[in-house]
Amino acid sequence: MSWFIGIDIGSAYSKGAMIKDFEFVASHVIISGANYRTSAEIIRTELIRQANLSQDDITNTIATGVGADNVYFASQKASDIVCTARGINNIFPQARTVIDVASQSSKVVRISGEGKVVNFTVSEKCAGGSGRFIEVIANVLRIDLSDFGALSARSKTPITFSTGCAVFGESEAITRISEGIPKEDIAAGVNKALADKISSLVKKLKLEEPCAICGGGALNVSLVKTIEGELNTTLLVPQAPQFITALGAAIIATTSETSTVEYRS
């Protein structure tokens, strides 16, 4: 009997996935906060609790994400890009492209049948290309993040955002509000802006179908629809999209295949 854990410490959220025989047995997500070390511990404890196991039952743990260094109990760490590829390949072996809409950045990875990375690209640092954009606007509009997709789906006339600075997308939203634009049109405008950024990332890399989408952004139905429209394809959406990278890490843990590289410089 062997259980494997993958822990993905992102700059906004920390996610954990536990697998047994390549099947999900537990998953957990929390806000990363200022202390990644603690976040990692909380996640491990929760995963173990969910599967009511003890620490000794865990054969191997792999860490990924910006805060991977802080997962002191992980045997090794893996690149989040590789993890996303392995993760999505585990759920959709047919997928040749995966879009990951995370809070801080979006990335597009093209993958082989074996889940190897064929090519990838990550959104520019200074561009409204991340899910954070949506969180911020949801907050401005005083609506729940989970309602965002449904709301924007109601819009007939989405507004146009200048898809420049992600932070200033917010001022734009506020501006539009003071101009009297309905909520749903603003929400839809944000989805459009983000979808534009993401599809141009995909085009940059050349889309190879079938294409999957993961990360928190994949929970936003209207964003997914908009991207589907712009790429004119149907996206594969996993049940728990935000855990795909963590899942990938767990999978890597089963076959400790990853280079240990000293990240410090």
Partner: protein
């Protein structure tokens, strides 16, 4: 009762659908040649019975395709312009003429040529100084342009054809200046917004049709009774490009914009092409010397070994003094399109100059999107509040 197909209403209509007329002409068998920058000598196209069409971006269109070839920290106008091309919006073009007026023009031109396949594509190099040898070189570049045009059309570009084309375009320049005479009264007889619509129409019409439109417009505006609403300030806008009415309307909400020293407005129409033994000389001289874009390196005396900042400012911005006096300007807006280096470097010196001639000025940056115009509105209003007390 106004005729819908004349003057201002016609201009507005064309402005809202710049492609309409060129597509008609195309259908009628005409050859349409695009150009992205006013430094391209359109006379040479007209002379060969080619229709010049200025390709421009769409301020309301988010850039998606251009990301493939241009980074986001790049002239938003050219990014947008290329984006439209890559979205096949200019596929009706038979050719493009591009020019090295500035980096974004040059960089975009090369990418453009590489990603599209018009029957004709030409790139003109351009020196940065107005020195004699630079002028000679530019003349040779225009001569090479002539060669490729002749090969493309299979027609000779004769001297008299070129001279008559120059006459037509000089006439157009004169008419635009005449139109601007009508912003001198207070209140002005025509708004900055209307002028943008007229100019944007001109850049999508054959020169003769453009001249007719101008004549109609001038007569219409002259016959206007009452004129426009008098606003508390008469503004001058100095910019690299100003080709969209949305932003102009923000300026005009609480002021009269009586002069817009910019592309998309008067910059291409200030001077006049002189008639020279070899017409290319006159053209080279006009385009290199007369057009007041920050891309050209100007100094008080060419190759001077003594330097004096005051004289330097005079040589770079002196032409603005007369404008300020004649149009009774009481406020200047220095509008910068983000990432436009030639104009960005100019800003502090330009402010020095406006201060020296006692014109209050304010600096405004915008990224060529309709996105956040409201904060811009606040700046304008606050600026007006400072000059109107």
């Amino acid at each position: 009762m106004l005729d819908k197909n004349k003057g201002l209403s016609k201009a507005r209509e064309i402005y809202l659908n710049r492609l309409q007329r060129v597509k008609e002409l195309k259908a009628a068998g005409k050859t349409i040649i695009g150009y992205p920058c006013i430094y391209v000598p359109v006379e040479m196209l007209t002379a060969l019975d080619l229709i010049p069409y200025q390709t421009c971006g769409d301020i309301k269109e988010p850039v998606t395709e251009a990301d493939r070839a241009l980074p986001s920290s790049f002239c938003p106008v050219m990014r947008n312009c290329l984006d439209c091309a890559l979205k096949n919006k200019n596929d009706f073009l038979d050719g493009m003429v591009t020019i090295h007026s500035c980096d974004p023009q040059e960089k975009t031109a090369r990418v453009w040529e590489s990603y599209t396949s018009y029957p004709y594509f030409h790139f003109i190099d351009m020196p940065i100084t107005v020195r004699p040898e630079a002028l000679e070189y530019f003349k040779s570049q225009l001569n090479d342009f002539k060669k490729t045009l002749e090969t493309f059309t299979g027609r000779k570009l004769s001297k008299d054809k070129l001279e008559s084309a120059i006459k037509f375009h000089n006439r157009q320049r004169a008419l635009v200046r005449e139109l601007y005479e009508l912003t001198k009264p207070s209140p002005p007889c025509i708004s900055g917004t209307e002028i943008i619509q007229v100019i944007e129409a001109l850049t999508s019409l054959p020169v003769s049709e453009g001249n007719d439109l101008l004549t109609e417009t001038i007569n219409e505006v002259k016959s206007r009774t009452g004129g426009l609403e008098k606003k508390p300030a008469r503004l001058l806008i100095w910019s690299s490009i100003l080709d969209d009415t949305d932003i102009m309307q923000v300026f005009e909400a609480k002021a009269n914009v009586v002069m817009s020293e910019s592309c998309g407005v008067i910059r291409a129409y200030r001077g006049e092409v002189k008639f020279t033994a070899n017409p290319l000389e006159g053209l080279a001289d006009y385009y290199l010397n007369e057009i007041t874009c920050a891309r050209t390196f100007r100094q008080a005396t060419i190759g001077e070994t003594r330097k004096d900042y005051t004289r330097d400012l005079q040589s770079r911005f002196g032409y603005l003094k007369g404008i300020v006096e004649e149009w009774k300007i009481n406020g200047a807006i220095m509008l910068l399109v983000r990432y436009c280096d030639p104009f960005a470097f100019e800003m502090p010196s330009l402010k020095d100059y406006f201060d020296s001639i006692g014109v209050p000025s304010t600096y405004i940056e915008y990224d060529y999107t309709v996105g956040a115009l409201a904060p811009l509105r606040t700046r304008i209003e606050a600026f007006l509040e400072t000059i109107n007390q």
